[in-house]
């Protein structure tokens, strides 16, 4: 049974509910990372991306380079009716295309990710291809802040700036956490916005939970000329669930029944 379209409210709260429902049903973690990007994904999938059909060649591209947060993306694809309820409910099941990290074999996923540092290079190629083909399609890549530890990411940053790939927008999910600690304790990224700026990007420091603000900022970018763009988006890891917010254990931990009830109540599900 597919949920009727009118019930599929295109809101970040629905994305969060689906993240919680599916991670509870499958008994898996990465909940905090997915909650962290729920509003960014909502801005992109409900307001920004020009996608008539997920197989249409001239559609905008989106690469979730922090692939471990893919539940937020599955939720958005479901809410946009590009993913069936049956498919969504196969998350982490045997033989499912919906694993803990995204696979391009699933329509709606532009590139497979899961190994940090690989999404931006692919996005650079995708943006360069659009330029060579004189296409107006745009490329968006969502990276984690800790992913900026990866040297290959900066290789791509340099290439995009040198070739002024204005049709490329990176969004950094600046939640300040990584698998084993807080980013400032593990490998400091500060000042992250200044680093991207020093590499020649058009930098915007934004609130990563303000859907209207994110949409407005992205809408103001000149994607036809000039440098590539980056939104350094301040976020809260585990956003929306009080006991998860800024807590390292929710990088991997699944929820107990009681934790699930509380989380759903706080999200408003």
């Amino acid at each position: 049974m597919t949920e009727p379209m009118e019930a599929r409210a295109l809101t970040p709260a629905r994305i969060r509910q689906i993240i919680l429902e599916q991670s509870k049903r499958a008994g898996v973690g990465h909940i905090g990372s997915a909650l962290s990007i729920a509003d960014i994904v909502a801005a992109l999938y409900f307001h920004v991306l020009r996608i008539g059909d997920v197989r249409e060649p001239e559609r905008d591209r989106f690469i979730l380079s922090k692939g471990h947060a893919v539940l937020a993306l599955y939720a958005a694809l479901f809410l946009r009716d590009w993913l069936s309820e049956d498919a969504l409910n196969s998350y982490c099941g045997d033989g499912s295309l919906l694993g803990v990290h995204p696979e391009h074999a699933l329509p709606g996923i532009d590139f497979s990710t899961g190994s940090l540092g690989q999404g931006l290079p692919m996005g650079v190629g995708s943006a360069l291809a659009a330029r060579l083909q004189r296409s107006a399609r745009r490329v968006f890549v969502l990276v984690s802040d800790a992913e900026c530890n990866e040297g290959a990411l900066w290789e791509a940053v340099m290439f995009a700036a040198h070739h002024r790939l204005a049709n490329l927008t990176a969004i950094v999910d600046l939640n300040g956490q990584q698998a084993l600690g807080y980013t400032d304790q593990v490998l400091s990224l500060t000042p992250l916005a200044a680093r991207w700026r020093a590499f020649g990007w058009d930098v915007h420091e934004v609130d990563g939970h303000d859907v209207a603000g994110l949409t407005r900022t992205i809408g103001s970018l000149d994607t036809r000329g000039g440098p590539p763009h980056v939104l350094v988006a301040r976020t809260v890891f585990g956003k929306g669930v009080s006991y998860m917010e800024r807590q390292l254990k929710w990088h991997y931990w699944p929820m107990s029944d009681e934790e699930y009830r509380q989380a759903m109540a706080e999200i408003g599900g």
Partner: protein, 307 residues
């Protein structure tokens, strides 16, 4: 083979706008003909091989056929996981081109010796792996296979003038090229070191030992039936490769002999010792690792007398 590579690439690019050339800042005095003819389709990405392959994935996804050029080790090993998660996982026609297989960069030292590329590329499913023996075979391979579906690794030798006697530029995906026929033993070679195998076959013939000589440029898809046919017809086969003996041509041939239960003894000639910091000319390195014509003759005679 650089000149042959670039000459053929220019010819192909003139006929097909999908072809792009990316380099990790290598190819001085080699890639210029392409740069000059197609400045908008040439990208020096800088010394950044991981980004080169990641980018190529994005380009190929949009319909291009990008060639990524660097020295063997930098082209194959540095961005290896990008190759795995990029063109292999997405089944895209990215071409990884490594210049200087084996000891082509002999005196440059261990970091420049390409000794495991065939092994690591061969394990990737759907990856076509081509290791031409001379510049004529390379040109033929490129013309026939350049737009084959899926990813491809091409191992180039540096020598632009060497030709393997009797090869005459033949190439076919999934087939071996037979240069000599003989029932006493087989010499099965890949890459420019095949010239040593041909020389060894001549020396063996002078002693009355008739050797079959095969050149294997299509490492994957492997010429399984051609190899099995030869392995079934001789008691001893030597594999000859400027590569570690693990994982490359020797392993491939041994796998076929075992899987088809062929009684042939397979002797893998290649690099067995761990790097010790010593390097030298290509000829010196081949001698050191038992890949010279003389060493191959000795190995064959020893195996044949062991009966």
């Amino acid at each position: 083979m650089r000149r042959s590579f670039v000459r053929t690439l220019v010819e192909l690019a003139a006929a097909d706008p999908r072809l792009l050339l990316l380099t990790g800042d290598l190819g001085y005095n080699a890639l210029e003909p392409f740069m000059e003819r197609f400045p908008d389709r040439f990208f020096n990405v800088g010394v950044a091989e991981q980004n080169m392959v990641g980018m190529a994935t994005g380009l190929a996804d949009a319909g291009f056929i990008p060639f990524c050029y660097s020295i063997v080790t930098f082209a194959s090993l540095r961005p290896y996981e990008f190759i795995r998660n990029g063109p292999v996982l997405h089944r895209l026609p990215v071409r990884i081109v490594g210049i200087g297989g084996g000891f082509d960069y002999g005196p440059q030292g261990t970091t420049h010796h390409g000794l495991e590329d065939l092994a690591v590329m061969r394990v990737q499913p759907g990856m076509t792996v081509i290791a031409p023996a001379d510049h004529e075979q390379l040109a033929c391979a490129l013309r026939s296979a350049w737009d084959f579906p899926g990813p491809m690794y091409i191992r180039l030798g540096k020598d632009d003038t060497l030709t393997i006697p009797g090869l005459e530029g033949r190439f076919e995906l999934g087939r071996a090229q037979r240069l000599r026929d003989g029932a006493d033993c087989a010499l099965i070679a890949t890459g420019p070191v095949a010239v040593e195998a041909v020389g060894a076959a001549d020396d063996l013939a002078a002693r009355g030992i008739r050797a079959t000589v095969l050149v294997i440029a299509s490492i994957q898809p492997a010429p399984v039936d051609d190899l099995a046919g030869v392995l079934a017809s001789v008691p001893v086969a030597l594999t000859v490769e400027a590569h570690y003996v693990v994982g490359g041509l020797g392993s491939l041939v041994a796998e076929i002999a075992a899987e088809r239960a062929l009684g042939c003894r397979v002797l893998r000639c290649g690099v067995r010792q761990p790097p010790d910091g010593r390097s030298g000319s290509q000829a010196y390195m081949h001698r050191t690792h038992g890949l010279s014509r003389e060493a191959l003759v000795e190995t064959a005679l020893r195996a044949l007398s062991a009966g």
